[in-house]
Symmetry: C2
Subunit: 450 residues, 2 copies
């Protein structure tokens, strides 16, 4: 069902509460969409009427920040019952959104087993392998044959969230090898696991950053990564679903990082948290803006002579900022999807500067012509010759586009060289450069040519 | 191995060509990293000395635009041999980068089977399900039992790139059902496939957009999606690897889309293609910049009276642009990872405007104070009272941060409402708004208060 259908269904449900039963037949994702459209009271009533297992399945599909608002209105016993039914990491995600007091109450009300799984997971930040992992995995002793391994899994397989890989451990739970479930099935049944497994597989620790999880998965084409402790003991795995989540979250954080928003922010983050994450970068921006202001201040003489320059200068700065951000976005994107080899960097910078030069010539000529016509038509009345002012616009637009493209592609490389996130505040630094050239360079050129 | 190690290995290989053999022991991804660091001549020589199958594995791990530069220097027979060894969709990605003439020559030199697979795949754009799919999948007739199905797969399993799902088709290849390989293994061996498969699974057509593939996979937790033609005949599947690629590519395109870069652009795109993708949006930006210029032009009187305003106005515009882009980035990110329900939009806009207001008060007071001190210290000499000018800076900075946050979170919603990509040129439109308020509002307030 498309989003629009869900809205209609929600309207219908509002008017016909007896139809709620039908919802049980939708997939959890579709049911979640419908519930998100209901008002909070109806949503809570509907969820609390469902069996705990079904409610849990639906709650897993709702953004944790929203789901928790509904959950807070459940009686404690019902809340604990729903959380008992969820995979540990989904329950931990939700519980992580509750306040500390409710968290303790809820954990105590859950079954001992579920409580212990969730407590273990809550120990790790959500953007680490520990925060992403599941502990319900197939881990088998070294001594088995493949046939015995499959029999063992047959009995337990419904407990495993992800069976893409089977891990082989010794008596002390230390990870020795991995075999894909598919290979396990097609090996000769009598073969010892120790002979057919891949030795010393790629593994991470619970505190490994989500970014590294995403990179390892893509680099080595892994759809699941084992998580081991400092002694090499198997603790869990990041499932295929966890890998996709890590790839998605890492890939979408770059734009936020580039403009100094919180990389953990979502649209449901509360106002004060968002404010705290963003305000430091706005402060940095203020300092950088003062540099731009200072550069312009040294040139106010020419603006006094030719006030139309004050109106025209943002054109140059805007074009440079836009062109620079285009190069920045392409560069950051390529660094995120693919590890750009440093041997390629000079060629990349040359190409981006080339694109800036082509754009610069076209937009320079265009902006010069348009400004000339508007000055001739006295839409923008000028004291000096419109022709000369147009040349200033054209030349500085061209220069700022070249500089912007070079800086936009260069800044992420410099940040990476210093071991920083290539996206970090990159758009803010870029704007300093394009505005300094766009305003300051424009006015300097004007002072020289007019 | 980390990137730095690869660079050292590459340097070492440059100096010690006899060590190249050791490369054969690295994983294809690690070998690819090393080759990317070599100069082109060495890289070509090294690859052409490897057996075709090994060269193919390594070439698959290099960005297609780079790999193709190496491939173009291979003799035709060797090039065809390497491509024969690759999975069809990897070969198609590479061949898609060759010029038309070479493409024809290479296809003719490949084996008939590989040629036909690649030709079929080349028919679909790379950002569609057809461009992502593999045709080497497990498709079994309806009449089999689960035991027979496993026997059938056992004989062919090495040909399947992805065995997460087994598809069940009728005599005319029409897709009837799907069963996960894991479930297939643990069902009673005598059970007819028709009884244990999931009927009418989620499927896409070869022209379904990559974005929808990514959304379906995440919404329904699918790690593989069947691709069917208009008559429902099974053509292939988007594998887990294809799903991860789709999620990654969709997630990283938003920043590029927001600033009007080409969403298919990478750092290896040639200069004229990049230019053609970016220049239309720079043109739009020029038109919008003229609006900003026009707004300022109406207020040049006040700048003439108080030239320091020309220096201070970019501060206000920069803060508004940055704050607005923070809200924009968070909004676009949330829309990309999670379908934000429309019932939540008013709350989201309210929160973002609230964040803008908090930032506005803090940055307004801060920028007002800093400007006051700089004017008092005559770093920015002013004609009128520094106090009054500071109030103008503070008030307009506050207003532009509120407006920017509201617009930044609202623009993607409006674009989505019109059925457009929520990111499309959103940063360009946002800058029009923040610059109009930042420059125009600032000057209007100055004219009123000074």
């Amino acid at each position: 069902m498309a989003r629009r259908d869900h809205e209609q269904v929600a309207d219908y449900l509002d008017a016909n509460p007896e139809a709620w039963e039908a919802l049980a037949q939708a997939t959890p994702s579709d049911a979640a969409d419908i519930i998100e459209q209901l008002d909070e009271e109806d949503a809570v009533q509907l969820l609390s009427e469902l069996p705990a297992a079904e409610a849990a399945e639906i709650l897993e599909e709702i953004a944790p920040e929203l789901a928790v608002e509904l959950l807070e209105q459940f009686p404690l016993a019902e809340l604990a019952a729903a959380l008992n039914e969820m995979p540990g990491e989904a329950a931990a995600d939700l519980i992580g959104e509750l306040d500390d007091e409710t968290t303790e109450d809820v954990l105590t009300a859950m079954t001992d087993e579920a409580e212990s799984v969730v407590r273990d997971l809550l120990a790790y930040p959500p953007d680490t392998a520990g925060g992403l992992m599941t502990t319900e995995i197939a881990a088998l002793p070294l001594g088995l044959t493949t046939g015995e391994a499959i029999e063992r899994i047959r009995q337990l397989h419904e407990e495993y969230e992800d069976l893409s890989y089977v891990y082989v451990v010794d008596e002390e739970d230390r990870l020795h090898g991995v075999i894909s479930f598919r290979d396990l099935v097609f090996k000769r049944p009598g073969a010892p696991l120790a002979d057919v497994m891949i030795l010393d597989p790629v593994a991470v620790t619970p505190l490994t950053d989500r970014e590294e999880v995403a990179e390892l998965a893509q680099r080595y084409h892994l759809f699941g990564i084992p998580v081991v402790d400092g002694q090499g003991r198997l603790m869990g795995m990041v499932t295929t679903e966890g890998v996709i989540e890590a790839v998605q979250d890492e890939a979408t954080e770059d734009f936020a990082a580039a403009v100094g928003a919180g990389i953990a922010e979502t649209v449901y983050t509360n106002v004060t948290s968002s404010f705290r994450m963003r305000v430091p970068w706005l402060g940095v921006n203020l300092v950088l803006a003062l540099v731009v202001a200072f550069v312009i201040e040294t040139q106010t003489g020419i603006i006094g002579q030719e006030p139309v320059l004050a109106a025209l200068m943002p054109i140059v700065a805007l074009l440079g900022g836009n062109g620079g951000n285009q190069s920045l976005a392409v560069m950051i994107r390529s660094l995120a999807s693919d590890d750009v080899p440093s041997a390629q960097v000079p060629g990349i910078l040359t190409r981006q500067t080339g694109v800036g030069a082509l754009n610069g010539v076209v937009l320079g000529v265009l902006s010069g012509m348009v400004c000339f016509l508007l000055m001739r038509a006295e839409v923008f009345p000028s004291n000096s010759s419109p022709g000369r002012i147009s040349v200033v616009v054209a030349l500085s637009a061209c220069v700022v586009l070249v500089v912007g493209s070079f800086a936009g592609s260069g800044i992420p490389v410099v940040l990476r060289r210093f071991g920083l996130d290539p996206a970090l505040a990159s758009s803010i630094f870029l704007t300093l450069i394009t505005d300094t050239v766009g305003f300051g360079g424009f006015l300097l050129l004007a002072a020289w040519l007019l």
